[in-house]
């Protein structure tokens, strides 16, 4: 046996150590489960961290009511297969007010059904640590975030007042009302995530694989018609196209790409050859250069 770990083995071990630190240091941790590929990796790492014990905290899914149907089916099947404790939270006020991305715009819809919903769920659960799947390579402001990222009592992030983080010695201490966001795969890149999924044979939502799906083309963005709630313009007709998704979220806000990549090696291959960054498919980021940083200060994950 060689003593040198590969970069994936190193990343895996470091992530496991972070999970264990959370379990050992906090009273009420929770893991954010977004059902995407990063969440699948996170879940896999959590299972490894605590084996043979079960994951010692619940998984929280913020259901905006506009997630792809296949995501919800995958979520419920995964919860059953692995037997973890799943909490699904929806902003009831938003549902009552009929908040949707079509009438209220993507930004307001996201604020209410995602950001506010997350705050509600975290406050209601009195969670002192929320584990998320954010990676530093995703976006500029995330590159500076700590692995253990402190939040004040209003769930807000103060980028100028972050705790220095040395070695793997994490300061996990909190005052009453404060909380921690923890990012075990901070140092993974998108390529790391995909090669790890490949190497470890981790199940992911089938939407990542190319398949013939009904879509409408809206100024270059392919929106999948996942149910009858998507309003169609005059003369707009869903067409079946071979598409897949690089990132998953609310179906009206997530653009598909034309692709024939139907298995993992083809996806990785296609990703390496493509010249567009991952978050481009997410419409919330394109508002302004600093929009993600602002959202994080307000409590968006």
């Amino acid at each position: 046996m060689t003593n040198r770990l590969t970069h994936l083995q190193t990343l895996e071990a470091e992530s496991i150590e972070i999970f264990r630190e959370v379990a050992a240091s906090f009273e009420r941790p929770v893991m954010m489960y977004s059902i995407g590929k990063d969440s699948s990796v996170l879940l896999h790492l959590a299972r490894k961290a605590f084996f043979p014990s079960k994951i010692p905290f619940p998984l929280l899914h913020v259901d905006t009511t506009f997630k792809f149907k296949e995501m919800i089916a995958f979520r419920d099947q995964t919860a059953e297969d692995y037997g973890f404790d799943l909490i699904s939270h929806t902003n009831a006020d938003g549902v009552r007010d009929g908040i949707n991305p079509f009438d209220h715009g993507s930004s307001r819809y996201t604020d209410i059904m995602k950001t506010a919903a997350l705050r509600q769920a975290l406050s209601a659960g009195r969670y002192d640590a929320a584990i998320g799947g954010a990676r530093r390579d995703e976006e500029k402001s995330r590159a500076k975030e700590r692995v253990f990222s402190h939040r004040n009592a209003a769930h807000a992030w103060d980028p100028k007042n972050q705790r220095p983080e040395l070695w793997r010695t994490f300061n996990t201490r909190l005052n009453p009302g404060e909380s921690m966001r923890v990012f075990p795969i901070s140092n993974w890149t998108e390529l790391d995530v995909w090669t790890y999924i490949y190497a470890e044979n981790i199940p992911i939502v089938p939407l990542y694989f190319a398949k013939s799906r009904p879509v409408v083309d809206r100024s270059g963005t392919l929106v999948m018609v996942d149910d009858e709630r998507l309003p169609l313009g005059p003369g707009e007709q869903p067409r079946l196209e071979m598409v897949r998704f690089r990132t998953l979220g609310c179906y009206p806000l997530t653009g598909a790409i034309r692709s024939t990549a139907a298995d993992l090696p083809s996806i990785i291959m296609e990703m390496q050859a493509s010249r567009t960054s991952e978050r481009e498919g997410r419409l919330i980021d394109s508002d302004s250069a600093a929009s993600m940083e602002k959202k994080k200060q307000e409590g968006y994950f």
């Binding site: 003593n3 630190e21 100028k160 070695w167 090669t195 090696p265």
Partner: protein, 628 residues
């Protein structure tokens, strides 16, 4: 350099296998403001084709009105993340970047050059195998170059590359490069770097980044990226003694008890005998458990769960080691300390110290000296300010297992946490233990007022209440004591009831006896404050001379004279113990306010108006004034 992209002639499976076999190199970039760190990282990302089309488009747009290279791009825009930084045009926090070649994956910590952010540089350096130290070819070595080199050495970075940037602005001069390299070699000779290389580059123009620059044919060394791809930095942690810090006790059911953690160093095999560093209890490794199946052996860096062959009392923070090479186990050690907070480090202060999975209260027992990070000169100091580095001794509340940082960074590095705000205040690297726990004599450790106060996390002091009987002194003192105690302070009230009945029961009420009474109370208050307490003294103490005596006895201890100014009429109407009535009837002689005077204080620190406000409001006023 070949890129991390599959080409038609490599098979997909082979390429994927290659992706999973790469090694990892973590390095940091440091240097002065404007040396071009961000530009260099942007260049590395760009040249390894990790800048994607949409990023490139927005980059070109943003590069308008900025210094750009041949590609028309200001590369620093790629990595200057936070909005504040974009406004100020400087990097103020550690940013992590990722790129890979077909040989290696790289994690880059981009650290700030400004002096006030030196703590962030230390943060970036703590996880780095190697450092790129940038200098501007036009400026040569600066104060910050020296400071950053010292911090690298302090945090134990063993491999350094001096990147002489902006060489294009000195016409690719070999003479400038040679002089800069020579200057640095002289400066760095005592910093303990294992490898050193210098490379002349232009990050903006891409010279000597991926390939040797035609514009510097005089340079015979390796260009930057090929050097980073090939340098061997793995200090083989597997060759160090076994250190397994127990992070989490894994107990899914009554039949399984495992100890989960990451091997900090060394190697462990099934059947090995191990010791718990603290209790010296031995056990053998029965199983090495992972979700992928049991292992027969595991090495440094692996996250595993150990099952032992017998019941041993082990909890989070314990360290397992082989019996022939156990870590130090002590409650005193000397360390270098980098201070990272606006409020200074003081001798005698108590903090929480976290090392590995162990967290213990710890007190700075002595600041031996401060090291000037620019000149490396040592000077006496009684505190460490933000970004200062000192050599200090610590005493922890209970013994901890550790190694010297030079031997093992993961078991020799610690952070200090504020006990109230929970902020991370500083980082330390242990030099040596001062005392083995089995050796019971204390050395180099003067227990004094500062140390005891530090352990209590408060400023010991005397609050002296004076006023008529019935003025409300004791009521207010009691309320204040409750509030302070609720906040975790350690207080004690001295009043007539607990002193006159014991310590002073031999004293009467003659003038001489009253002076002796106050003298004794003041001496007891001083002793208690010396022991670290906040002492609330509630005595009528009617004479100015006695109160001055008490203040003199207190010496350098903070002394607050509180005059509870309640009129005789109000005090007499309250008469809680019926004493005024007795005095009026002549049953008590020399009663203050009736047949003995009360000298109102001339210069009390605080006056509380007892007739006008209720005791809780007065206690709050006093609390706000004291700011304990």
């Amino acid at each position: 350099m070949t890129l991390a992209i599959a080409t038609p002639d490599t098979s997909l499976d082979l390429w994927l296998a290659q992706q999973t076999e790469k090694s990892l190199l973590r390095f940091l970039t440091c240097g002065s403001v404007d040396d071009g760190k961000s530009t260099l990282i942007g260049r590395l990302l760009y040249d390894s084709q990790l800048i994607l089309d949409d990023q490139l488009a927005s980059l070109k747009k943003e590069s308008h009105n900025r210094t750009v290279g041949d590609e028309g791009i200001d590369f620093s825009l790629l990595v200057d993340g936070l909005a504040a930084e974009r406004e100020q045009g400087i990097t103020i926090d550690v940013a992590y970047r990722f790129f890979s070649t077909d040989k290696r994956k790289f994690i880059v910590a981009d650290t700030p050059g400004h002096e006030q952010y030196t703590r962030n540089m230390a943060t970036g350096a703590s996880n780095a195998d190697l450092a790129l130290l940038l200098v501007d070819a036009r400026k040569g070595l600066l104060t910050q170059t020296r400071r950053h080199s010292f911090i690298l050495s302090l945090v134990g970075v063993k491999h350094v590359v001096l990147v002489v940037n902006k060489i294009d602005l000195v016409e690719y001069s070999q003479e400038v490069f040679d002089r800069t390299e020579a200057d640095y070699r002289v400066f760095a000779q005592n910093l303990g770097f294992q490898t050193f290389a210098a490379v002349p580059v232009s990050a903006l123009r891409g010279d000597n980044i991926l390939t040797s620059s035609e514009r510097m044919s005089w340079f015979k060394g390796s260009p930057l990226v090929p050097y980073l791809e090939s340098i061997e930095v793995a200090r083989d942690k597997a060759d160090l003694p076994l250190r397994f810090p127990v992070q989490w006790v894994n107990r899914p059911n009554l039949d399984f008890r495992g100890f989960s953690g990451t091997l900090a160093s060394g190697e462990v095999k099934v059947g090995d005998e191990v010791l718990v560093a603290a209790s010296r209890k031995p056990a053998k490794i029965a199983r090495i458990v992972t979700m992928d199946g049991d292992l027969t052996r595991a090495a440094a860096g692996q996250a595993i769960t150990l099952v032992l062959d017998r019941e041993v009392d082990i909890s989070r923070g314990d360290v397992l080691a082989h019996p022939q090479a156990v870590p130090e186990f002590s409650n005193q050690f000397q360390a270098k300390l980098i201070w990272m907070n606006e409020s200074p480090a003081f001798q005698g202060r108590s903090y929480l110290l976290k090392i590995g999975a162990q967290t213990v209260p710890a007190t700075i027992t002595d600041i031996k000296f401060r090291t000037n990070v620019n000149t490396l000169e040592q000077a006496a100091a009684n505190k460490l300010d933000l970004n200062e580095v000192g050599t200090v001794t610590f005493a922890t509340d209970r013994a901890i297992a550790f190694d010297s940082y030079a031997q093992n960074a993961l078991t020799g590095g610690f952070i200090l946490i504020d006990r109230l705000s929970n902020a991370t205040l500083g980082a330390g690297t242990i030099e040596f233990g001062l005392r083995r726990a089995q050796n019971l004599t204390y050395q180099n450790f003067d227990v004094n007022k500062q140390v005891r106060a530090g352990m209590k996390g408060q400023e010991p002091q005397i609050v002296w209440f004076t006023g008529l009987s019935g003025s409300g002194k004791s009521t207010i003192a009691n309320l204040l004591e409750k509030r302070l105690t609720a906040e975790g302070r350690h207080c004690y009230i001295l009043d007539g009831d607990n002193v006159r009945h014991g310590l002073n029961k031999d004293l009467g009420f003659t003038e001489a006896a009253r002076v002796e009474n106050i003298r004794r109370v003041a001496e007891v208050a001083r002793l208690m404050a010396d022991a670290g307490l906040i002492v609330l003294v509630s005595f009528i103490s009617p004479f100015e001379k006695e109160r001055r005596l008490a203040r003199e006895i207190a010496g350098d201890i903070r002394f607050t004279e509180v005059y509870v100014d309640t009129s005789l009429k109000v005090a007499e109407s309250r008469d809680p113990k019926g004493l005024y009535a007795k005095a009026r009837r002549g049953e008590i002689k020399n009663f203050t306010g009736i047949d003995s005077p009360f000298e109102a204080p001339l210069t009390p620190e605080v006056v509380l108006h007892g007739g006008e406000y209720e005791p809780p409001a007065l206690a709050d006023q006093l609390y706000d004034w004291l700011k304990i």
